[in-house]
């Protein structure tokens, strides 16, 4: 019987073509959109983790309370021993120090007069120590537009857009104006070793990147740092493990009344990334629910139209002695076959689309030029194993469900009027 039904599906294009198109379209859209949004959100979370939040971050309680102001006067001290301690106690993570600071960058002309100035968002990381993994983590080598990585603490990288604004070239000297940890003014000259484009609009506009030893010296923060970031060795954020780590770490200091005591925060607890993480994790489910709902309604109607068109056929089958239940089951079986064909086509198309978007992405640089959010300028899909089935199962389900609804009509068919109906 299955073979018989399959022949009908293949030969009767009007029976199968529209549902296959509808399912293919729905399944492929679900896969592409789910992969794209999930990828984009994961990228955003990842960017935030790499540049700002880490998988976990340790700050002093006072610093954490005012972190938006980058209050380096409230920074952690004695961090070398704290980091060493973290590396021993939590070897699953790599621990790095970072200092974020603000100030003014002045670009002098040949006579030493100011030719341009601009507000600078400084980040100090371990640029000179390859073992920290910071250069790879922030993809700095690949993000350099011109010049090279700093070779010593007197050199700095500067955002390409920022450099253009200040009309700076590689080898030019710039002066940083700011305040130290203790509140006094500080001036420091740096040689521009390279310009950099992270693809994060908020950073490219005014970033200056220093080695952390230079920043510590400049800001009077010897053995101090604003933040200690922890990254899982495999590079993947593990929400459950991070929350457990946060709880365990903070418990050690819960009876310590010192406002400078360290406090750990997970990625989830920072920058509203928890919501983003939840969206990223649930994006597929959201799309599947929308898809199944919408497609079921469409396929229900397609089934009703098909039922009207096949009214005569069902009449003949009833007359030949097929029970209503058998016809209903055959409709569901047909729907399953069509659903499988449509879902296979849709999954293939969807994966092609998702792979394309994973490789090439969509450039949204123009849209995020003025954004203060930490987000990538090229949004990419992420092809994950769940994409292989995420559209397939709902595709079959929607077709079967839609046809189960429309097929109920067969039970209302009166056999007593078959002769009259089949005379037409």
């Amino acid at each position: 019987m299955i073979k018989f039904l399959f022949k009908g599906i293949i030969r009767d294009k009007s029976r199968s073509m529209l549902p296959i198109i509808v399912i293919s379209l729905g399944v492929s859209l679900t896969i592409v959109l789910s992969g794209f949004l999930s990828g984009a959100m994961t990228d955003m979370v990842d960017q935030n983790a790499k540049f700002e939040t880490g998988h976990v971050k340790i700050m002093s309680r006072a610093y954490a309370d005012n972190k938006d102001q980058l209050p380096n006067d409230l920074a952690l001290l004695g961090v070398d021993s704290l980091v060493a301690n973290l590396q021993v106690n939590y070897p699953d993570l790599q621990w790095v120090k970072r200092i974020r600071f603000g100030g003014l960058l002045d670009a002098p002309d040949g006579n030493g007069e100011s030719k341009g100035q601009g507000p600078a968002a400084g980040i100090a990381i371990n640029l000179l120590d390859a073992s920290s993994g910071e250069v790879e983590r922030m993809n700095i080598s690949n993000s350099i537009v011109s010049g090279n990585l700093p070779k010593n603490a007197k050199e700095a990288l500067i955002g390409d857009e920022f450099a253009n604004k200040l009309n700076l070239k590689i080898g030019d000297e710039v002066t940083y104006f700011g305040t130290t940890m203790n509140g006094s003014m500080t001036f420091q000259n740096f040689i521009i070793s390279g310009t950099i484009r992270f693809g994060v609009a908020a950073m490219d506009r005014g970033a200056i990147l220093l080695d952390i030893t230079a920043a510590q010296e400049m800001l009077d923060m010897e053995d101090g740092t604003g933040e200690i970031l922890g990254f899982y060795n495999n590079g993947v954020y593990d929400d459950k493990a991070a929350i457990a780590l946060e709880t365990a770490f903070n418990k050690r200091f819960e009876n310590n009344p010192d406002e400078y005591a360290p406090e750990m925060f997970t990625l989830r607890a920072q920058n509203n990334l928890g919501d983003l993480l939840d969206y990223a994790n649930n994006m597929s489910a959201i799309f599947v629910i929308i898809f199944v709902g919408a497609m079921s309604v469409v396929l229900w109607n397609t089934g009703l139209i098909g039922g009207l068109r096949r009214y005569q056929e069902f009449g003949i089958r009833l007359a030949l002695g097929e029970s209503k239940g058998s016809i209903y089951r055959s409709l569901v079986l047909e729907a399953t076959l069509i659903g499988i064909i449509g879902s296979l086509v849709g999954t293939s198309l969807g994966l092609i689309g998702a792979f394309y978007l994973q490789n090439y992405g969509i450039n949204i640089e123009g849209m995020v030029d003025n954004s203060a959010m930490m987000m990538p300028t090229v949004m990419r899909a992420k092809v994950t194993p769940d994409l292989y089935y995420i559209g397939f199962i709902p595709g079959v389900f929607a077709m079967v469900f839609g046809n189960m609804l429309s097929g109920i009509g067969i039970y209302k068919r009166e056999t007593a009027s078959l002769f009259k109906e089949l005379e037409v």
Binding site: M1, F4, K7, G8, R11, D12, R15, Q312, E313, G315, I316, R317, L318, A319, L320, G321, E322, S323, K324, G325, S326, T415, A416, L418, F419, K420, L422, E423, V424
Partner: protein, 235 residues
């Protein structure tokens, strides 16, 4: 002879507005296995309603309709379908072949419903097509057939399962005279060879000429029941 159909005081009423329309009024008839009989009468006389009841597509409002020893009024939908599937064949005025399937597959469908094994199915289908002289058309689609060929396929489909009863509603209405005679001869031959009971509903005098027994109906009542041209067997 085995009594295969027995109608006793069968009445069928349909609700029309606040009242009833009586399609069959106290009809009592019986048919033996192997009869070649027909119901004749004007439109609205109850011919099709009788076929419906005998074919277990409908049940009487009053009286008793026994087909193959089963009381039609007491059959569930599933049992009715089973009775039709195993023992009753239908031929319609319009051939009603499934357009996406070949001639072979159209005929085969009746056996698929009975879960007949593939090899047996193939043999039975080819034999049925041979009865109607269409074995060479097995792989053709219905849209490639003439009207006469289409109705012969319908006969093969109805007969392939070797039913005890075959019900034909105006089977020659859409055929020219030559095809009508060819079809009727085929059915008459099958009636003789397979012993199937043929019951027709017809206005067509060509059909009447082939009938061994003619039951005339008017306003839901049997007005005459004539055997072998003019021989009255039952009033």
């Amino acid at each position: 002879m085995e009594k295969i159909i027995s109608l006793s005081h069968v009445t069928k009423k349909f609700e029309v507005g606040d009242g009833y329309f009586t399609a069959l009024n106290d009809v009592s008839l019986s048919f033996n296995a192997g009869e070649f009989a027909g119901f004749v009468g004007p439109s609205g006389s109850g011919k099709t309603t009788l076929l419906n009841i005998i074919g277990s597509l409908d049940s009487p409002t009053e009286g008793e309709a026994m087909v193959m020893g089963r009381d039609i009024a007491k059959l569930s939908h599933k049992d009715s379908a089973k009775l039709r599937n195993l023992h009753i064949g239908f031929i319609f005025q319009v051939f009603n072949l499934l357009p996406v399937y070949t001639v072979f597959e159209n005929v085969e469908f009746a056996l698929l419903l009975q879960d007949v094994p593939k090899e047996e199915r193939k043999k039975a289908v080819m034999e049925a097509l041979e009865w109607v002289g269409l074995e060479s058309m097995a792989n053709k689609r219905p849209d490639k057939l003439s009207g006469g060929e289409g109705q012969r396929v319908a006969i093969a489909r109805a007969m392939v399962k070797r039913p005890k009863i075959l019900l034909a509603d105006e089977p020659t209405a859409n055929l020219d005279s030559a095809n009508a005679h060819a079809i009727l001869k085929t059915m008459k031959t099958l009636n003789k060879e397979l012993g199937t009971t043929f019951l027709f509903s017809t206005h067509d005098e060509k059909v009447m000429a082939y009938l061994d027994r003619t039951v005339s109906l008017k306003d839901g009542k049997v007005v005459s029941d004539v055997a072998n041209k003019d021989q009255q067997v039952q009033a």
